[in-house]
Symmetry: C2
Subunit: 347 residues, 2 copies
DNA sequence: AGGTTCCGTGGGACCGCTCCCACGCGGCAT
DNA sequence: ATGCCGCGTGGGAGCGGTCCCACGGAACCT
């Protein structure tokens, strides 16, 4: 049997340990540990010697050992319900994650991505996440009925949500100013002289959808108009839902001259339906969406839309979480970030 | 000072350990470990007793301790160069990651997401990843010049790439049949009676871009046409690049009647330019894209495009990687997955 | 009957780090 | 001089698993 037939040698490249560094630097393990963790209680010359030894050996601390001893993991889980992932404007997740990643990197923390294919997984997940696996959890896209956040809360796992489940959300969270954004969209339509403005909502078990509807109402009431309930159609954040809602609106109020859709995807469905019905956008009916997603730029005509500062939301979520991790038991904070209306050709 | 003013008690919920389970089940630690790891060398009654104890205590193994002792981490890193992330059709990353996640979940492995903001980070990253942090690495979107894969290879870190850097890629990888997909696109145009077919390429330092150009050539040569180099314009996978390339093609060959763009984003730029030049799509010029991304469905007219099986690519990458982890030193494998032409209205 | 073999099991020795206690020593007050 | 304080420092004791060796007893052999 030739050597080549042997099972592969355990490639196990044995990396230098804390001990090796200590020996080379001529100090104790404790001292090396202090240097690595930036403790101030190390004299300058000792620190220099240790750093020299670290560089020489190319030493990198073993995260598992560190985690075992310190009961920290330096890792944060980002939980994304997979069912939603398709619905949302695609940039939603990727941009938030970009922001999260950037902020975590600064703090030297790792990002564990957990896609949850199924609500049934939620129960197992909570226990799992609490088992010294991560220092905290970031949840994207929470529904009103989600129980995972509460379980994490009970298990004392620091948690920050993207968006809230409803007013009075007990957990820390970051959200866009949904009602303000919706309001600015409708005000824009009013400023353009539109008077019969419909809206297509998202699923109302999501706070963001409710808030956008509130913003629509506020804008109209603010100028003394009464809200015509027939101008409100309920969608589901999907294109087909937007289309159906638009059809409904046209049947109920054929003379409407503008629509505010609570998402770009629904807006694009609405545009298709308007075209089918022989109406021109924006000449006959102006359309404003929400999210400023890719489709907004690419449909015809390009969509005026409300942009959320997604990357900043991610960054803020991460920093709130890091704060909760550092100050366990502190009160939860909520941050609302402003939106911006991006005007294009549809309104 | 009331208790409420005290610093919060270290919430440290002390979870049960292996020892606790062993004590409750009346067995040794070794036996519990065997049960957890599914070793066959445990008698049925003992196993039952241990499982009972585990359930009773709600025991979950501490991953850090396990990792420290076993030198495994049960974690895989997915490395995504952030610069590219915007360029690509958005579903690209999210769908591949979905596939990766699904496959890893089955194997009980975690997904560590690493966004690399900058090529300069690469050097540090390699050392970092090799420091007992992950069992393997998945790299998305590799360029011809990327050195990270080689470094990982040297450091004996199992690695699988999405796409290859070029022919003869030494590392394991999964890619779509780019040339075949391009070929089917051009054959579709030929079948529609188009005869003067231009192409807009991606950056040729990427193998996928080269392969798509090759497919274009093959399709034409296959029917005995000679390739007119003036019908080839070089883009960069961006919309603006596609637009500029289209402008160039129109200047050089005003009579062309079809274009195959190596990405949907470039195709959308091309469509805009065609419209600007007063041409109708597909009546005057037919357009086919690549990726079947969101924009393909939403631009006007909806784009005929080549779809890659992204989720399956992700799944396959994960399973190749798991194989490499289990059989270190084995030879690297490459898998090519078929593409599918999705016909819409643009061609 | 005695000797092997094999199976299931217990437990010691780590894995590589952090935490914390104890110790030596120079500087300062007494 | 004597005592005390406090800063730097060394190193023991875990953290919670895995791995592997050794051991007892049942089953099989000669």
């Amino acid at each position: 049997m030739s050597p080549a037939d042997q099972p592969p040698p355990r490639a196990e490249v044995r990396r230098p340990t804390l001990n090796a560094v200590a020996a080379l630097a001529g100090v104790g393990r404790g001292t090396v540990s202090r240097v690595i963790n930036g403790s101030p209680k190390v004299s300058a010359p000792t620190r220099a010697a240790v750093e020299q030894a670290i560089a020489e050996l190319g030493y990198i601390p073993n995260p598992a050992a560190r985690s075992l001893a310190s009961r920290r993991t330096d890792t944060v889980a980002v939980v994304v319900p997979e069912g939603e992932a398709r619905l949302f404007s695609e940039p939603y997740f990727s941009e938030i994650i970009r922001g999260v990643s950037a902020e975590l990197a600064i703090a030297g923390m790792q990002l564990l991505l957990v896609l949850v294919p199924d609500e049934k997984e939620y129960a197992r997940l909570a226990t799992y996440l609490s088992a010294h696996r991560v220092d905290g959890v970031l949840m994207l896209s929470v529904h009103g009925g989600d129980t995972l956040p509460d379980r994490l809360h009970e298990l004392a796992v620091p948690t920050v949500l993207a968006g809230r489940r409803g007013p009075g959300e007990p957990l820390g969270h970051v959200r866009a100013d949904n009602s303000g954004g919706a309001r600015s969209a409708v005000e824009h339509l009013l400023a353009k002289g539109r008077r019969t403005i419909g809206t297509i909502t998202g699923p109302l078990d999501m706070d963001a959808a409710r808030a956008r509807l509130d913003g629509y109402r506020e804008a109209l009431e603010h100028v003394g108009m009464t809200v015509d309930e027939d101008l409100i159609a309920y969608g589901d954040f999907r294109e087909e839902g937007g289309r159906a809602a638009m059809r409904q609106l046209l049947r109920r109020r054929p003379g409407l001259d503008a629509v505010f859709a609570a998402s770009d995807v629904m807006a694009s469905g609405a545009v298709l339906e308007l075209r089918t019905s022989g109406r021109r956008v924006p000449d006959d009916v102006a359309v404003v969406g929400f999210d400023d997603s890719i489709v907004a730029r690419h449909i015809d005509p390009p969509l005026t839309s409300v942009r959320q500062p997604l990357e900043e939301m991610g960054r803020t979520m991460a920093s709130l979480l890091l704060h909760e991790i550092a100050h366990r038991g502190g009160d939860h904070r909520e941050v609302v970030l402003p939106t911006r209306l991006v005007v294009r050709e549809s309104a």
